[in-house]
Structures are given as structure tokens and as C-alpha cells.
């Protein structure tokens, strides 16, 4: 494990001159950094101490910013990511140089793939030692360049506050994403009394938010004449805060809606027009609609391969209207017949204003409803089989308020959570989509909890293998007394891998199962949380009720059917409309 400078003990800690207001004035690069964060409105930051970042932490000592010490820097990055998703402002994470910074990398890559606004601050060895392979030196800007919107190497104490402000603003500007500022220790320690300037994104990164009128007109005409129009709401609708405009458009023109996984919640899933999410494990009806639409109106999506399946068979009959704030997404994976570059909400409103008529799609709507009846989301739960994970998700959904925030790890449990939880609002489904990071769920629940209002419920639906990857963060939830409920759908497998091995590797279950799985309820208790183990349907309601009622971190270890698989399933690279409903259809 990485070596770090030991944190000062209580008795070593310097006595702050709390009453002296000059203490909080900018005196150094580090205080300038903290001032920039305060100017940006940062209330919470997640991180882990260490040698090169110590000056920043020392400056935080005098700040009102709440710092949450995580057990591992990966946890800090996921917590910051989820905090940003729920809050709508960039999350902030901190780590020291070397191993601290490299431990952040997974979370930064995750934020990058899901276009989540996040600012990472990393300590660095003193400038004069950079390049000398100094203790805990890593080329952090080099390592993170491919997974950030932009990163900065701070070079002066006088300007470091400006740089941090710019990085924060850039993270949220246009298409969101992670940014990073690497802070050499001498820059942080260096004297300056310069107040950081206005928090704003660099001039070269200002997106086009108002769509061109000719693009809007062309898109409007295409939608008007469509007979089978279909809206596809991506994460851009959620992160672009365009949910109101998107819903109004769908409702006014009575156009059916499918979402991507990051787009879950953009449309209430219990709305008749909503066909839930499409893609590899999406609903049969969403995938049928994608397959048969003649006009796909995609908003804020990058057409990930888990959504499209094989590109040759994706929406094969559809003219594509693609609204996105990132021009590089236009025709990257799927050719856009009618691109509209701009802010999602503004573009939708402009198209709506431009439309002279609503497409005549009565038959198409009926067809979509027929598919809903024809391919219902359901699962078999015979009495002689173990507890079904889908049942647990439904029971949790039933027992929690409508606007509950759900985080997840990655794998089968994630798919079941997304399939069987009914989401009605945006920023309630917090998951790792693009990168597929196992272990995301628990630290994300911590971040989400701190971003949410006190009266909101936060549930982490996790898998046994995902939970084990970041289980140490339970110590943080206990220490910070965070009211979160972790529901482990424990099948004692890396279940999605086991499912693929059974389907595509003739059942050779290599490295997918455990010979021995920890007792998570006992582990939870050892951490200082509450724990339950559940084996049967009968125990489910009580355990859920007790865990939700407990005002602190709780873990329910649901021992679910290890043989259960996730369906429907579009095979990798296959046609969306050819989804399998069971293994024998693959």
C-alpha cells in the first residue's frame, strides 16, 4: 500500500486563530485555491490526505467547506461524481500526488464517460523536483489527459486560484465532464495575497447553446411528417436540466419516449408515453420501438454501443434528428440526418415553436402500447426456487418514497435495479454507465446522501462483488452518520460474467464465483453499521422496513437466486429488435 505522511494527531494540531478574520485571507497558493472553491459555491469536498496535498488541506482548516475523508481516493472520486449528479453542480475531490492521484483515475474516467461534472485537485511534488522521479511523483496531467475535459498543471501561486476557478467552471460548461488541477507543493505553499478572479470557463470552450434556425427548421419538418416518431432521451436531458422541456414536447405532440440508461428519469417511467430504457438489457418494447421508428429524435445521447447494438441494424428505418450540445457527437456513431447543435432545452423549445403541426402518430402510439403488453417486464418466481433479485428491487421501490435516489454498482444487480425500479424524476438514478465501474455504488451513495435533502431517501442497490470492491467506504458512512441503505443482491457470483460464461463460454465459470463469500450483515455490524441477512421472501418486507427506519448506514444482504439471469438481452453487436427473452433465444 502507498506510503503517506501521517496525519497530525489531535495534540499536534496547531491552534487556529479562529477569531482572527485575517486568517482566512489569501496568503498562499493553497488559500487562494480554497477561496476559489468558496467563490464557486463549493460546500462539500471528498478526499484523502497525503504529503503533497497537505497545504490545501491546511487551508481547508479555516474554510466552511465540509470535507469528507474517504477511505480510498477511488471512493472520493465516485462520491464527488455522484454528488455532482444529484446536486447539479460539479463535485470536488482531492488526493495527494502519486498513488493518491492514480487512485482517483477510475473515478475520473467514470465521470468522463458519463459526462459528469467533477473537479479533481491533486497534490504534486514541488516544481523543481518534477521529472526527477521524486517520492510519490506521477505525471498526473499526463495520466489524466485522455480522461478529462482538460487538466491543468498549476505553475504559480498568484494564478493558481484563477486556474482552479476556471477548471471548476469548465467542468460544468456545455457538455459536462471532469477537470483536474495538479498542484505542486511549492505552488500551494508559495506566498500570494492575490484574490482569485471570476469563476468562468476558458474562452476557447464556450459551447454553442442556441441552435441554428436552419437546423431547427429541418428537424421540425422531419418530425412533422413522421408516421412513427420516437423520442430518445439521453443523459444530456438530465444533465442539461432539460427535463421540463423534453416532457412538455413529448406530451404536447404525443410522441412515445425511450431513454438511455443515463437518461432514466428524464420521462416518468409510469407515463403511458414512456417505454423505459432501450439497449442491451432494456425493455422489449423500447427496443421494438427503436427498431421500427421512422424518425428517431435523439436528445443528449452519444449512441453508446450498449444502446445501439450492431450499428447496421440500429433504427434501420429511421431518419435521425440528433440534438446535442457537443458537435463532435453528431454523426460520430450514428449518422444524423438532421443535426441540431445546442442546449437540449433550448433546441427542443425552438423545434416545438417551429412545428406547424403534430405528427399523425395515433397508430404508432397504439403499436407501442401493444408492444408493452406483448413484452411485459416480468420474472418467474416459483415457490421452489430461491429469492429472486427482481422481487427485492420491486419491494425496495414499493417501500421507499417516489423520489428516492438509487445508486448501484455494475453488473446484474444494476440491470435489475434499472429494470424493476420505476423512476419518475431525473437525478434519482445514479450509476456507472459508460465505464461500467464495479464498486461505484457505495461511495456514490455517500456522495448522493450529502447532496440530497435530509428528507430524501438514498438506497444503494449493490452486487456482492461490486460491494466488496469499495466496502471500506462503509467506515465513512458510519463516521459521518449517513442515512443510506445498501441492498446487496448477493448471488455469490460476479453474476454478469457468470451469465456470459453460461451463454457464450459453454458454462466454464472461470473466476466468476466465490468459494466463500463474507457475511455482509456481520461485516456491516463490524464497521458500526446495521446489518441484516435475508434468505426468503417472508423476511424481505421486515428487513427493508427496519433498514429504512434506521437513521444511519444499513446493509441488507439479500441471498438471491444464484442462477437468475438478466433478460431481455440484445447480444453484443446484435439487432435491438432481436432481443432474447431467455438463454435459449440467444
Amino acid at each position: 500500500m502507498s506510503e503517506r505522511t501521517a496525519p497530525p494527531t489531535e495534540t499536534d494540531a496547531p491552534t487556529p486563530a479562529d477569531d482572527d478574520p485575517t486568517e482566512t485571507d489569501v496568503t498562499s497558493g493553497a488559500t487562494s485555491v480554497v477561496r476559489a472553491l468558496e467563490n464557486a459555491g463549493v460546500e462539500t469536498a471528498f478526499g484523502v490526505q497525503g504529503g503533497a496535498i497537505m497545504p490545501i488541506y491546511d487551508a481547508l482548516y479555516h474554510s466552511d467547506i465540509r470535507h469528507v475523508t474517504m477511505a480510498h481516493e477511488q471512493g472520493a472520486s465516485h462520491a464527488a461524481d455522484a454528488y455532482g449528479v444529484v446536486k447539479g453542480d460539479p463535485g470536488v475531490c482531492l488526493a495527494t500526488s502519486g498513488p493518491g492521484a492514480t487512485n482517483l483515475v477510475t473515478g475520473i474516467a467514470d465521470a468522463n464517460m458519463d459526462s459528469d461534472a467533477m473537479l479533481a485537485l491533486t497534490g504534486q511534488v514541488p516544481s523543481e523536483m518534477v521529472g526527477s522521479d521524486a517520492f510519490q511523483e506521477t505525471d498526473t496531467t499526463g495520466v489524466t489527459a485522455p480522461i478529462t475535459k482538460h487538466n491543468y498543471f498549476a505553475s504559480s501561486s498568484d494564478t493558481v486560484g484563477d486556474v482552479v476557478g476556471e477548471a471548476f467552471a469548465l467542468a460544468a460548461e456545455g457538455r459536462p465532464g471532469p477537470t483536474l488541477v495538479d498542484l505542486p507543493k511549492d505552488v500551494s505553499l508559495g506566498e500570494t495575497d492575490r484574490e482569485p478572479g471570476e469563476v468562468r470557463a476558458p474562452a476557447t470552450c464556450r459551447p454553442k447553446t442556441n441552435p441554428d434556425s436552419h437546423e431547427v427548421e429541418a428537424a421540425a419538418r422531419a418530425i412533422e411528417r413522421a408516421e412513427k416518431p420516437l423520442l430518445l432521451f439521453g443523459g444530456g436531458v438530465v444533465k442539461g436540466d432539460a427535463t421540463d422541456e423534453a416532457r412538455a414536447f413529448a406530451t404536447e405532440h404525443q410522441i412515445p419516449v425511450v431513454t438511455t440508461m443515463p437518461g432514466i428519469g428524464a420521462m416518468p417511467e409510469d407515463d403511458d408515453l414512456c417505454l423505459s430504457w432501450a439497449g442491451m438489457h432494456g425493455t422489449g418494447y423500447a427496443n421494438m420501438a427503436i427498431t421500427h421508428t421512422d424518425c428517431l429524435i435523439a436528445v443528449g445521447t452519444r449512441f453508446d454501443d450498449r444502446l445501439t447494438g450492431g450499428i447496421d441494424t440500429f433504427a434501420p428505418e429511421a431518419e435521425v434528428v440528433h440534438i446535442d450540445i457537443d458537435p463532435a457527437e453528431i454523426s460520430k456513431n450514428v449518422h444524423a440526418d438532421y443535426p441540431v447543435v445546442g442546449d437540449a432545452g433550448r433546441a427542443i423549445e425552438a423545434i416545438d415553436a417551429e412545428m406547424d403541426q403534430t405528427p399523425d402518430a395515433r397508430e404508432w402510439r397504439e403499436q407501442c402500447l401493444t408492444w408493452k403488453d406483448e413484452y411485459p417486464m416480468d420474472y418467474a418466481a416459483p415457490d421452489d426456487e430461491p429469492l429472486k433479485p427482481q422481487f427485492v428491487v420491486e419491494a425496495l421501490d414499493e417501500a421507499t418514497p417516489d423520489e428516492t435516489i438509487v445508486t448501484s454498482g455494475v453488473g446484474q444487480h444494476q440491470m435489475w435495479a434499472a429494470q424493476y425500479w420505476t423512476f419518475r424524476e431525473p437525478r434519482r438514478w445514479v450509476s456507472s454507465h459508460g465505464l461500467g465501474t464495479m464498486g461505484y455504488g457505495l461511495p456514490a451513495a455517500i456522495g448522493a446522501r450529502l447532496a440530497a435533502d435530509d428528507d430524501e431517501t438514498v438506497v444503494c442497490v449493490d452486487g456482492d462483488a461490486s460491494f466488496l470492491m469499495t466496502i471500506q467506504e462503509l467506515s465513512v458512512a458510519v463516521r459521518e452518520d449517513l442515512d443510506i441503505t445498501v441492498a446487496i443482491l448477493n448471488n455469490e457470483y460476479i453474476g454478469m460474467v457468470r451469465q456470459w460464461q453460461d451463454a457464450f463460454f459453454e458454462g466454464r465459470r472461470m473466476a466468476a464465483g466465490y468459494d466463500w463469500c463474507p457475511q455482509f450483515d456481520k461485516l456491516a455490524e463490524a464497521f458500526g453499521a446495521r446489518g441484516w441477512a435475508v434468505d426468503s421472501y417472508e423476511e424481505v418486507p421486515d428487513a427493508i422496513e427496519e433498514a429504512l427506519a434506521y437513521d444511519g448506514p444499513s446493509v441488507i444482504d439479500f441471498h438471491v437466486d444464484p442462477a437468475e439471469n438478466v433478460y431481455p438481452m440484445v447480444s453484443s453487436g446484435g439487432a435491438n429488435g432481436k432481443f432474447a427473452l431467455s438463454e435459449d433465444q440467444l
Binding site: P202, D312, T313, K332, V334, D383, Y567, G577
Partner: protein, 217 residues
């Protein structure tokens, strides 16, 4: 929750499926035989903030997105703090569009554009050939408007400039002498005539007095 079968509905082969399809570039095609775009060689020019690491950001982006770069040059412009990057790329058309858009997203990239076919293009090559036949080497060098930079008992080093085709021809011509070493700069280019090479580009004052008098503008 049901206690019977689980997911229901017609099997995959029983479902209607449209005939349409897309090509590998995601373009809807009809008929099926429609050809895909062929790779095309073109020059992109970008004005960038001349800051540490900018070249590695550009090169790294091209590498991780599998853009095929033939050559890349970089140098200062007349604006302080700005540099021009000239890239020769070879990609099918949607790919060229992608390179341009992805590069435009890089924070240090101020402006980027693709050059027209009539753009002025040039590169420089240094050639070190065997010195056994100086007269003939000199004659070929003259033929290509080159310069002899270094003559020794064993080697002769010449410099040639011109567009890619001229340089390719010249290199071929020198092969008969035995090329020992070669160094090519890669192409750099400017738009033809008064056209701007990169959208929005304005001349600066860095490196005066190379800029002509400003009152004539």
C-alpha cells in the same frame, strides 16, 4: 411478479424486422450495396495556445481515437502565445469531420479548419547520400531547386523544399546515389490567396517588423 414463466412475447425470429440497414459509419443505406466512404488525404490547420503539452494533447487525441495522422508540424505565429499546428490526415469523410470536431474541443485549440485543395503546401527534407559521385548529386539537387548543405569525402547532405509530390519525386531521384539518412519535416500549409487558413484568424504583432506597416490595412 408472476409465479409462472417470466418474460413473455414472440421469439426473436417471430418478430417483424425492417429491411433497412446502416453501414459501418452509421449512415442509413439503400440499397445495401452502397459503397462506404474511401479514405481521403487532407490538411487540417489549427491555431492553438502555445502552452506546454499542447502537442501531446493533440497527438494523444489522434492516437486514442485511431485517427491516421501522416504528418504534424507546429510553430509560432505572429500572435504572442499562439502556435499553428498543421496536420496531414488520411481518413474517410466522417472521420475527417470527427478529427476536426474532437480537436476543436481541446481547450488549447482556438480555431481549426480544413484547407481547400488549392492551399499552398510545402515541406522540407534533408537527404544524406553517398558522396562518391558529387557532380551527379549536384546536378539532381539543381534539378529540384535544392541546396547542398554539406559535402564530405563520404557523404553529401542536401536540402529540398516543395510540395509532397515534388519531394517524393526528388527522393526517388536521389535513390540511385544511395540514401544514407533522410529527415522530412512533414507538410505545412497556408490557404491560397487572401483566404484565411483558419476561421477567425487575425494577424498579430509578435516578431515585428516582419509584419508590414499597419496603416495600410
Amino acid at each position: 411478479m408472476s409465479n409462472e414463466q417470466g418474460l413473455q412475447g414472440p421469439a426473436p425470429e417471430e418478430r417483424p424486422h425492417p429491411d433497412g440497414r446502416r453501414n459501418s459509419q452509421g449512415i442509413r443505406i439503400d440499397p445495401e450495396a452502397e459503397a462506404e466512404h474511401e479514405p481521403r488525404r487532407t490538411v487540417l490547420s489549427a491555431i492553438v495556445e502555445h502552452e506546454p503539452g499542447v502537442l501531446s494533447r493533440v497527438a494523444g487525441l489522434a492516437a486514442r481515437r485511431q485517427f491516421n495522422i501522416e504528418s504534424l508540424t507546429v510553430g509560432p505565429t505572429t500572435v504572442d502565445g499562439h502556435a499553428r499546428i498543421t496536420m496531414v490526415v488520411e481518413e474517410p469523410d466522417p472521420g475527417i469531420d470527427q478529427i476536426e470536431k474532437q480537436l476543436a474541443k481541446l481547450k488549447p485549440v482556438i480555431s481549426i479548419g480544413e484547407l481547400d485543395d488549392d492551399a499552398i503546401r510545402a515541406e522540407l527534407v534533408l537527404l544524406k547520400v553517398r558522396g562518391e559521385d558529387p557532380d551527379k548529386v549536384h546536378a539532381v539537387t539543381e534539378m529540384y531547386d535544392g541546396q547542398t548543405l554539406d559535402v564530405g569525402p563520404e557523404t553529401i547532405t542536401v536540402q529540398l523544399t516543395g510540395d509532397e509530390r515534388k519531394i517524393d519525386d526528388a527522393v526517388d531521384a536521389f535513390r540511385r546515389f544511395g540514401i544514407i539518412e533522410i529527415a522530412r519535416t512533414g507538410q505545412t500549409a497556408l490557404a491560397h490567396g487572401a483566404k484565411k487558413t483558419v476561421p477567425g484568424e487575425e494577424p498579430g504583432t509578435s516578431g515585428e517588423p516582419t509584419t508590414p506597416t499597419t496603416d495600410t490595412q
